[in-house]
Amino acid sequence: MIIADRKPITEILLMIKDCKKILILGCKGCVTVCNVGGAKEVGILSSILKIARKKEGAPLEVDEKTLERQCDPEYVETIKDTIDSYDAVISMACGVGPQFLSEMYPDRRFFPAVNTTSFGGALRHGVWSERCAGCGTCVIHYFDGMCPVARCSKSLMNGPCGGSSKGKCEISNEIDCIWDKIVRKKMEQGRLEDLLVIKDAKDWQTARDGGPRTSVREDIAL
């Protein structure tokens, strides 16, 4: 799923400083699963903003709503009858949400309430970790189910650098060296020789480096 963190309240307050009435719009997709932008978090943000603005002597009127998904026009459309009544909409979806909203309602203002960080999963309750960089050409099968593009700080394709130490990345003791894990799995399975095959330079055209990407599925596209 897409992982996100909520922006600092001060930053959100600054975005809406001229607004008197806003809509906070959650999303029932990934951001609900990673507890950052679902109905519950919409309620919390709403209360915090109202209290903060009341203290400032500039009360804020806030409506709350959570869509099935903000990355699908079918659901974004459902707010068309009420959107004109707000000075702005704060989207608690990933970075896709405010953009789909802006595209459908070009004369309205939309602000992001979260920082979208990565594609990943939950390690345990409250902890999410990156797993995929969306490079467009998956190479995980070469690396025993682990992705050095996303999980090596240098996206190295040919083994751990000289900074790998005790299973950790040179940049932080908090970050696992994914190459350490790949090598150890190969050793455990008696396939260390796999790593004597040098991987060619990656073709980044399918990644963001090739420009913004669009996927077209001819079989289902209308």
């Binding site: 700080s153 240098k154 996206s155 190295l156 394709m157 040919n158 083994g159 751990p160 650098c161 000289g162 900074g163 790998s164 130490s165 005790k166 299973g167 950790k168 040179e170 940049i171 932080s172 060296c177 350490d180 090598v183 150890r184 050793m187 260390l192 790593l195 004597l196 040098i198 991987k199 060619d200 330079a201 990656k202 980044w204």
Partner: protein
């Protein structure tokens, strides 16, 4: 056709079978050419070639190729370092051509320290290709006269290709494989990370020799003399991939007041003596960090002078 790949002094010294001795010089944090020339002067005639670091520890400095050309003007042969952190393949190839055009004949291919360590941690890193792919790229440019995409190069760069090896990083069992891959990719010579754990290095070299790697590539053992107990402790605890045995820290602590640096130099000299005899070791790479003025004394005491003329 020349018998040499690049014809650099380092290549000639190694091919003639001499025990090579290389130094290192970090370019200034600015355009202070005079300071750079001072550092270079300490190394002149003392070593066969001098590594010119490329924004080492991810701190911005004068570009390695520019400092290398100044070194050439000063009559010292540079070993131009390039890291994969700051350039994509276009910039790498164009700098390789430029470096060769300016007279550079040795090049060391490195991954580079992550920018988080440096003075611009906000920067975007590149890592378009990794160090092993960079070695392969330089070899392709030199031997096939082709760019990465297969197009012909009009006058290919003839460089003596170097790479680094860190026997002390983890996982240890894999490290000799990485060395093998760097050699397979095209490394002509290897300079190792600073060695302090001699026992581990002996084992690493034995593994390399068993794989026949010493016959395909020249391995230069990395030496950095310890200046103080603090430096030893810092290196053992805070520098990833560095292995400083407790016995060395104790030895330095046991030195008389004001004699710690001398003890560090003594340890380095003992290492060099052992490397001269160690199977598979073709020379020493001395990284006297901000201690360039000590290199002549070290070279003299290590019996490495005069440097061979080839």
């Amino acid at each position: 056709m020349s018998e040499f790949k690049s014809g650099s002094n380092l290549e000639k010294v190694l091919k003639a079978g001499h025990f090579a001795f290389t130094g290192e010089c970090g370019p200034p944090k600015g355009a202070n050419v005079e300071h750079l020339k001072e550092k270079i002067a300490h190394l002149k005639t003392m070593v066969d070639s001098v590594n010119v670091t490329d924004n080492q520890t991810a701190v911005v400095r004068m570009s390695s190729w520019a400092a290398s050309t100044i070194m050439i003007q000063e009559g010292v042969e540079p070993n131009f370092q390039m890291v994969c952190r700051d350039r994509n393949r276009l910039a790498m190839m164009s700098d390789i051509l430029g470096a060769y055009a300016m007279g550079i004949r040795n090049m060391l291919c490195l991954s580079g320290d992550h920018q988080r360590f440096g003075n611009h941690p906000q920067s975007k890193n590149v890592y378009d290709i990794d160090s092993i792919q960079l070695i392969g790229l330089v070899k392709k440019m030199r031997d096939e006269g082709k760019f990465m995409n297969g197009e012909d190069i009009d006058v290919p760069p003839k460089l003596f290709i170097g790479a680094a090896a860190n026997p002390f990083a983890d996982p240890y069992e894999y490290r000799v494989y990485r060395l093998a891959n760097k050699i397979k990719a095209g490394a002509d010579f290897i300079q190792t990370q600073c060695i302090y754990n001699m026992e581990k290095f002996r084992d690493f070299m034995k593994k390399a020799v068993d794989m026949g790697l010493h016959e395909k590539c020249y391995v230069l053992a990395g030496v950095t003399p310890m200046k103080s107990v603090g430096m030893a402790k810092y290196m053992s605890t805070s520098v990833p991939g560095m292995d400083v045995p407790e016995s060395l820290v104790k030895r330095l602590q046991g030195a008389a007041k004001g004699k710690v640096a001398e003890e560090g130099i003594k340890f380095a000299l003992e290492q060099i003596e052992e490397f001269k005899e160690m199977e598979g070791v073709a020379g020493v790479h001395l990284m006297a960090i901000e201690w360039e003025h000590k290199v002549p004394e070290l070279a003299e005491r290590a019996g490495l002078l005069p440097r061979p003329k080839v």
